[in-house]
């Protein structure tokens, strides 16, 4: 991927099995169109999403990261999404402090029925990140322990 007009961002999505992943399936069965820039990682609950995962994704080349789960009150695991809420609110600030534009990290509640919302969210996010261009991070030459 390179700068300029042809830039196509890569968005890493963490989706919970019960809501957002079902919405993604529904978007599939309903043949809804959305940009092919997303790479989805399924977890049982958005509460499984360790902030370390988000950082690893950005570190390794993600231009954007989306964490998506069930709406508040709907969590299949009682309140897993509430932990997601609290973690992502903190993470949002951390990432901004680390120099990552806020459009690049998003947390959304997308229920199993909201295929349309899924399509809207990713379409919008891809568009925004495409406008921002590739994620510019400090580059480091790393001599790792071999």
């Amino acid at each position: 991927m390179s700068d300029g007009d042809g830039f196509e961002p890569t968005i890493v999505v963490f989706a919970c099995h019960w809501c957002t992943y079902q919405a993604i399936n529904l978007a599939g069965t309903s043949r809804m169109k959305y940009p092919p820039n997303v790479r989805v990682i399924r977890v049982m609950c958005s509460g499984r999403v360790d902030p370390q995962f988000v950082i690893e994704a950005f570190k390794n080349g993600a231009d954007g990261v989306l964490v998506a789960g069930c709406h508040p009150g709907d969590c299949h695991y009682v309140n897993g999404n509430m932990k997601t809420m609290r973690r992502t609110v903190m993470l949002e600030k951390l990432l901004q402090d680390m120099g990552i534009e806020k459009e690049r990290f998003r947390r959304e509640w997308i229920s199993a029925a909201e295929a349309k919302k899924w399509v809207e969210v990713v379409t919008e996010m891809v568009e925004q990140v495409r406008k921002l261009g590739p994620l510019k991070l400090a580059e480091r030459e790393v001599v790792m322990n071999e």
């Binding site: 890569t10 890493v12 019960w18 809501c19 992943y21 079902q22 993604i24 399936n25 978007a27 599939g28 069965t29 043949r31 809804m32 169109k33 959305y34 092919p36 790479r39 989805v40 990682i41 977890v43 049982m44 609950c45 509460g47 499984r48 999403v49 360790d50 902030p51 370390q52 995962f53 690893e56 994704a57 570190k59 390794n60 080349g61 993600a62 009150g73 709907d74 969590c75 299949h76 695991y77 009682v78 309140n79 897993g80 932990k83 973690r87 229920s111 199993a112 029925a113 909201e114 790792m144």
Partner: protein, 662 residues
């Protein structure tokens, strides 16, 4: 620690991991968009992949054979299937692995159909690239998958049925007759739900009333020793999971015990009145009342919301059946499966919608049914404002198909048939009545078409609209104005009675219900089935089944069938002694655990506890039967000591890294 190190940690040495990748064409569903051959060739080059193949339908018998043979021939120890998502076929392919001698949990399914070909069909190249990425991610994850031991739990051979309406009763009766113990919990003081107040029904020439049906079921249910009935009761807590639920039920006080002989003296002295919800708001009842004649239990009840606890009823009761100090009680039930037959609410038009609430001449279909019922407030006589109405106008789709700003978008399925049934009823009883059916589409599907024919024969006048009709309420006069869309003429119908054909809505308590039972709702707000077509009476949550109108509008007969169907699902579960549960539970590495207790604090199921070891230090311990496998403890564990099987850091992180290993 660098991510590179994490990636290596726990992985088998390269020469030990042998992955097979199988890419499905799914007819043209995948192959019509994605260049499957290219994906297969790409997969072959990925590290650890020793075999990659394609086939038209991997799920078909020959497709499965191909995988089984390959597992044996290539000595595979991990399998990646790129086809549809795991919901449908994971069990299929897990069985394939087992039959070929592999542990079923070293399978990774990647949905290149829902996730790529079906959504990127306009850009086959991008879809193919995405499919390759997805396969690479799956391979990275599969590389670190571990064999898991199957877990099983005991099944308590009892069922809970939430809701004592017609569907719940049907479920209960079937399960009880099949030999299982059943607990029915009904929120209202009596059984029967809406069906008990449906009035006369007539399908295929058989005339019965809703109450006859309810009475029949109630009699059988209460005479069956396997059935326990709790009315005026509510589920307040649900613990456990499939096969082993612990249910807390709140038994609300009735204030009247079974010494009550229904003599009615209490009602005479009761000073408080309230709208009668059992007659859909027609007329009033007292704070102490009998919901309806012949209800079960046929016993008076005090509504604590309206009662002033003045004690007059206590004074007059000859049997001493009233106790105003009765307290709420709580019981717990241990059950294996749950059927939610929680029903619906009728759509309640806001005041002013089609003149509703502005004139006694505008009523809902439910109210009409009560008026036409022999056990109703007028003993079956249709009298409005002291007069027998001559011109009767039904307006259909009230609260449905988005006809008004307040309406739902969906079709309520049975209102067309239900209103034509009442129209015929009126015509039969009062042949001189003029009945207009003002409608959008007449949706008397299937055999109900018969009602449509009969209505035409009986000169019911059909008026079709596209623009919603207008109801004007003047001084004692009601007019319905409508643009007839077939003949394109504006009609003004003076109406003695306007019947609003109201649809069904999810019950008001749906939010509490779904968070209590952890079931989902669909776009229409009703409870969501595991699969709309093929699993229509199961919820996505194991051990919880759905009956009747809980999942959406249904007729009485359809609700009863759905009740039996849900019972069949519960019976399948209850007929087993043990149930296999997914072993994707949390596990603790005791060498790393410092006993900080973070996981204990956040586990929603209380499945983790701190255990004291001999040296006095504490470590976390997971009860695998309580753990539901959400993995949130793994995300929080500050020592990376607790991990969720199949969703460990070492399985997810490589999947993230693989996104960029293009």
């Amino acid at each position: 620690m660098s991510s590179e190190e994490v990636k290596v940690e726990g992985a088998c040495p390269t020469d030990e991991v042998r992955i097979g990748v199988y890419v499905c064409h799914c007819g043209l569903n995948i192959a019509g968009v994605i260049n499957v051959k290219e994906v297969v060739e790409y997969a072959q080059k990925l590290p650890n992949v020793v075999s990659a193949k394609e086939y038209i339908f991997m799920c078909s018998a020959p497709g499965q054979d191909l995988i089984r043979e390959d597992i044996k021939k290539c000595k595979l120890n991990r399998v990646v299937i790129a086809a549809c998502g795991p919901e449908m076929h994971e069990p299929t392919f897990r069985a394939v692995l087992e039959e070929a001698g592999l542990n079923p949990y070293v399978l990774e399914m990647v949905s290149i159909r829902e996730g790529s070909s079906w959504v990127h069909y306009e850009d086959p190249e991008a879809a193919t690239e995405k499919a390759k990425d997805m396969v690479r991610m799956a391979v990275a994850r599969a590389r670190n998958l571990e064999p898991l031991e199957k877990m099983s739990g005991e099944v308590k051979q009892r069922a809970l049925i939430v809701g004592g309406g017609i569907a719940g009763l049907a479920s209960a009766l079937d399960l009880a007759e099949r030999g299982f113990e059943v607990h029915i919990v009904e929120k209202k003081p009596v059984l029967g739900g809406h069906a008990a107040r449906m009035g006369q029904l007539n399908v295929e020439g058989r005339k019965v009333s809703g109450k006859d049906l309810v009475d029949y079921l109630v009699k059988k249910v209460k005479d069956n020793p396997n059935v326990h009935i709790y009315t005026n009761a509510e589920v307040t807590k649900v613990d456990g999971s499939i096969g082993n639920f612990t249910i807390t039920v709140k038994l609300k006080p009735r204030y009247v015990n079974d010494k009550c002989t229904s003599c009615g003296k209490c009602v005479e002295v009761c000073p408080v009145t309230a709208p009668n919800e059992y007659e859909y708001g027609i007329g009033e009842r007292k704070a102490i009342f009998l919901p309806f004649e012949g209800a079960y239990p046929n016993q008076y009840v005090i509504d604590p919301e309206t009662c002033t606890f003045c004690g007059k009823c206590v004074e007059v009761c000859p049997e001493g059946a009233i106790n105003l100090d009765e307290k709420e009680k709580e019981i717990t039930l241990e059950v294996g499966g749950i059927i939610l037959a929680t029903g619906h609410d009728p759509y309640e038009p806001p005041v002013g919608e089609y003149g509703y609430g502005l004139s006694p001449k505008v009523i809902t279909l439910h109210q009409l049914k009560r008026l036409l019922s022999e056990d109703g407030p007028t003993k079956g006589e249709l009298v409005i404002d002291g007069k027998r109405p001559r011109n009767i106008v039904f307006i259909s789709c009230v609260g449905s198909l988005g006809t008004t700003p307040n309406a739902n978008q969906y079709c309520s399925r049975m209102c067309c048939s239900a209103s034509l049934l009442e129209a015929l009823h009126i015509k039969e009883k009062y042949p001189d009545a003029q009945v207009f059916f003002v409608h959008k589409d007449v949706r008397t599907y299937g055999k109900d078409e018969n009602l449509y024919w009969k209505a035409i024969d009986n000169l019911v006048k059909f008026v079709r609209f596209e623009e919603s009709p207008k109801v004007t309420v003047g001084k004692g006069e009601v007019k319905v104005e409508v643009e007839e869309s077939t003949i394109q003429e504006r009609l003004v119908i003076p109406a003695d009675l306007v019947v609003l054909v109201t649809g069904m809505e999810p019950p008001k308590e749906i939010e509490e219900l779904r968070s209590l039972f952890k079931v989902g709702c669909g776009g229409d707000g009703f409870l969501k089935e595991a699969h709309l077509k093929l699993n229509p009476v199961e919820s996505l949550t194991g051990g919880i089944y759905l009956a009747g109108t809980a999942t959406g509008p249904k007729s009485i007969a359809e609700s009863i069938v759905a009740g039996s169907a849900a019972a069949a699902k519960a019976a399948s579960l209850l007929s087993k002694d043990t149930i296999e549960v997914e072993p994707i539970v949390a596990v603790v590495d005791e060498d790393k655990c410092s006993g900080c207790g973070i996981c204990v604090s956040i586990c929603p199921y209380g499945a983790i506890s701190l255990e004291k070891k001999e040296d006095g230090t504490r470590v976390s311990k997971v009860d695998p039967m309580l753990c539901q496998g959400c993995g949130t403890c793994g995300a929080a564990c500050p020592s990376a000591a607790i991990q969720q099987n199949s969703y460990k850091d070492k399985q997810i992180i490589p999947q993230i890294l693989a996104v960029f290993e293009r």
